[in-house]
Symmetry: C3
């Protein structure tokens, strides 16, 4: 179940990466790279930080083909994709939740302490977009967006809390997707954001 959502999510992320590459007028190689890092970069950064080798996608070449194909196909269908904007926002939200849970599980199996498990989930959910934005030469959008990283934080904490309480995995997953999706979609709809910190004085 989580695997199917994961596959759908990496395709959606790869497509959003391809659009970001298009905004920078990249060539097909650039599109493929940005699609790849957007979809699989979060897990890559997580595995490199946790020392979790071999990294996931190196053992699943089919993921490589999948996200690169999705990225390249996007260049053909892009002019029509705005009709699917809402579908994409839902897929992206589901991806965020799936990535977060998967990231938690990797760190749990390696016996990392609680806050590192939560960070592992958040890194998996968010770092693909961060690397995409760094390669596209812009400040990562996740640092200024409507509630996004916070959804990952809540999802990861809730997941660990439910496991601690002995709730079974199926029920936990259902609860978490319900809570996470509702929160993320409400945030988009209502424009909920974290408070912003502006500091323009040059003091050093």
């Amino acid at each position: 179940m989580l695997s199917i959502i994961y596959l759908v999510a990496i395709v959606a992320e790869a497509m959003s990466g391809a659009l970001a590459a298009g905004r920078r007028n990249m060539d097909m190689f650039g599109v493929a790279v940005i699609a790849f890092v957007t979809a699989l970069g979060g897990g890559t950064v997580r595995d490199m930080i946790l020392g979790h080798f071999p990294i996931g996608w190196t053992q699943h070449p089919e993921y490589i083909y999948l996200v690169i194909s999705a990225g390249l196909l996007t260049t053909l269908v892009a002019p029509h994709m705005h009709h699917l904007k809402r579908v994409f926002l839902v897929l992206d939200a589901m991806g965020l939740i799936a990535f977060s849970l998967i990231g938690c599980n990797v760190a749990r199996e390696m016996d990392y302490p609680f806050p590192v498990i939560v960070m592992s989930g958040m890194i998996t959910g968010i770092c693909g977009g961060v690397v995409r934005d760094v390669l596209c030469n812009q400040v990562p959008v996740v640092f200024r967006r409507e509630l996004y990283a916070v959804v990952s934080l809540i999802v990861c904490s809730l997941f660990l809390g439910l496991l601690e309480l002995g709730v079974n995995v199926g029920l936990s997953t259902a609860i978490i997707f319900g809570v996470g999706l509702t929160l993320r979609l409400l945030a988009i709809w209502q424009g909920w954001k974290l408070p912003t910190f502006s500091f323009q004085k040059r003091w050093e």
Copy 2:
């Protein structure tokens, strides 16, 4: 002793990271991330390059809480922080030295060759700020600043030299802090910089 300076230093670095995030109008999540990477990113990059797993902070969750708290608190006290500018410059200089020595020690324990030990110290001292600047979408300030990386280079080389000469660790550390602080503060005061290389011709 080095541990106490280390704790003070990561707090100071987290606070300077939070201010950088404020210059980009980031939200509280962005502030927390930039505070974290500025304070702990240098050690993270070092451990990832040396293959030194698990990475330091993953075994010290208290560091995570400390730097994130420091970053978030900074958003409250920022308007008053320019009064502390000089204190911060001293703390930052002490942090640079402490990070450098710690970085050397990690590589020494792993039996890396001499220049890699020096680079390990420099990476620990400098890479937090580099990752901060990359995430804030600017050319790393350490590549154009008054003597900074060079202080780390001198501190690391001096440290290894004194150890080689059999000077005991306490005395070495005292000498190194004396030399390093003097050099860094003189550099700020006098505006000492390395020569700059400007090359504007497009030749490729």
Copy 3:
């Protein structure tokens, strides 16, 4: 043979890195760092992704001295280097091919699957320039340049194909350098590029 080409290539890459640093008016430390990451960053990223520790250059301190010296020397000879533009393009093309083959070999020895071996070659060939461009705060040029990454892709695939067919290593290497160099130099001469994807609509 490949080792000699490798040494020449890292010097050439270090020099091109130094020029990029000069375009950003960096100081001598910045020049040394950008020279280093341009020359050795590709292999570093590859080793960190494959979990291949210790990373190559940490066991060969002479490479560190070599690329940093090359970078610093470049600041002296830069005004005269445009006479050597063509030489550099050839050295850069040879470096791309040598890096690609070396990257393939590292992944082959670790028994990674076929597409990861190809990616390992491409990462080795390309990521040095990507890290250079990220540190110089620009969109990586390899995402918009005349055929470059594609040359690496073809070289890596051809190399694995020839090995599969049982062609001996010496002959394979000669064929690959012939094909790769011809293709890259033709691409520069004729301005061959991959199709570009432009997408300016803001849809999310």
